[in-house]
């Protein structure tokens, strides 16, 4: 029998998405992205000259990400400052975004991406990547494509998209599997793959397919938000 999702969603149904552009006026680009109760904001600074100089790469620019939870974004207060978890997520976020950006156009420069989670209900890294991808586009940085990201789950034997914290803790049958993916919106190229749980190798491919389909819905929302931001910009001037 199929697993019933606690919030009544269909297996391929995402939580309500909110996407907003320009949430940090000081930044060169910024965005907010929310999946239901998970809210992420991202700000992009750069491209700008990278210091110290010995870290510069004369053949291409450097993209640096910093991801963290705000201390009050979870029930048990998160001690401020980087943890091993946040350092790992910062790095995988970086790798998820780099393939989309034409870094070779910015030698000796750095693009800094700052991602913070205001409210966490699973899928924080993926919401952060979606926000960051929009913020990079908002900053006018040349990109091959937008990056879309979400967590696909397997609850017992059923593949579902965009799992919540409650679903992550599911324990019946084969338990819960959490597979975070990111892909370039318009091709079958994956830039983030991270999972834990129990999933048969064949089902891994099915989960990837379900994730890719859901990513196209995220892409539409991201595109709409960016277009609206550009249109309002036009009417101001």
């Amino acid at each position: 029998m199929a697993v019933k999702r606690s919030d009544g969603r269909k297996p391929n149904e995402l939580r309500p998405i909110i996407a907003k552009i320009g949430v940090v006026p000081n930044a060169d680009g910024s965005a907010l992205f929310a999946f239901g109760d998970t809210i992420a904001i991202a700000a992009v600074y750069g491209p700008r000259q990278l210091h110290p100089q010995h870290m510069q790469n004369p053949s291409k620019g450097v993209l640096r990400c910093n991801y963290d939870l705000l201390s009050f974004s979870v029930y048990d207060r998160k001690k401020p400052g980087p943890s091993r978890r946040s350092q790992e997520i910062s790095k995988v976020t970086e790798w998820a975004l780099i393939p989309a950006v034409y870094l070779e156009q910015f030698p000796n420069s750095v693009i800094d991406v700052q991602i913070y989670i205001l409210q966490a209900d699973a899928g924080t890294r993926t919401a952060g990547i979606n926000a960051a991808s929009m913020a990079l586009a908002h900053a006018g940085i040349p990109m091959r494509d937008l990056v879309c990201s979400l967590a696909v789950g397997k609850l017992d034997k059923e593949i579902v998209v965009d799992i919540t914290k409650e679903e992550e803790d599911f324990e019946d049958g084969e338990g819960a599997t959490d597979l975070a993916i990111a892909k370039l919106a318009n091709s079958d190229e994956f830039s983030l793959l991270q999972m834990d749980g129990k999933i048969q190798p064949e089902l891994f491919n099915n989960a990837l397919k379900a994730g890719a389909e859901a990513c196209s819905k995220i892409y539409e929302v991201q595109k709409k938000a960016l277009k609206e931001a550009i249109n309002t910009l036009g009417s101001d001037e």
């Binding site: 790095k91 597979l179 983030l192 999972m195 491919n205 990837l208």
Partner: protein, 267 residues
Amino acid sequence: MEVSNITKNTLSRMFSEGKRFDSRGLLDFREIEISGDVSNKSEGSARVKIGKTEVIAGVKLSVGEPYPDSPNKGNLMVSGDLLPLASPKFESGPPGFNAIELPRLVDRAVRESGIIDLSKLLIEKEKVWNLMIDIYPINDDGNIIDASLLAAVVALKNTYLPQIDKEGNIDYEKKKEKKLPLSPETVPISFSFFKLGDSIILDPTREEEEACDVRITLGISKWNGQHMINSCQKKGGEILTREDIEKITSILPEKFDELNKKLKKYI
């Protein structure tokens, strides 16, 4: 990953022809040597050599309190360090990303496979075993993640519980009789696939590893007679196509069976 362009291009060309410097096939492992009992002060330990790569893992047990969110379960902790002993590229000081990632990957593969039922580590109410696995590479010639998980698993398999006396103190010296309760069926093994150009290889040497653009590490085990992927992490700022991933997931089960058979001799 720093390697000269000429090495990278040469390796890329060779891989596309299915060749390697040491004449292995692209998906072949180097020779694997496994031994137990590295240190008799630990509760369990193991040494794994894959070619010139060498990793040791040790298990220590102590009595502690359970975490509030799992009051009836013992605690599993995996840590480790990339000692400057093992490579001219490892430096002392605060851990870099690779030193953070290694134990986290081993932790996930072990934990999610279900090889240890943590509820069996409950001693009495509010009292549980802390199970600590520590991993140290002794010589890094590539593929230390896969070697580390092998070492961790073999060390767990020869771990004995120390005795607790009447006052509740642990006597580490008493002859150890009771083995750590582990699932007899499940053995997690990880496979790190590396991609250079369009070629995918397993078990790279340090030079090959540095030449590659992207890595994906998958932890796999058997659970109720089925192959199960337990963990996965991609590394590197390049993409993997769906074809790459489908190829990797189709190779995975047979590679697991092959290595699992070899491992059975030691555990």
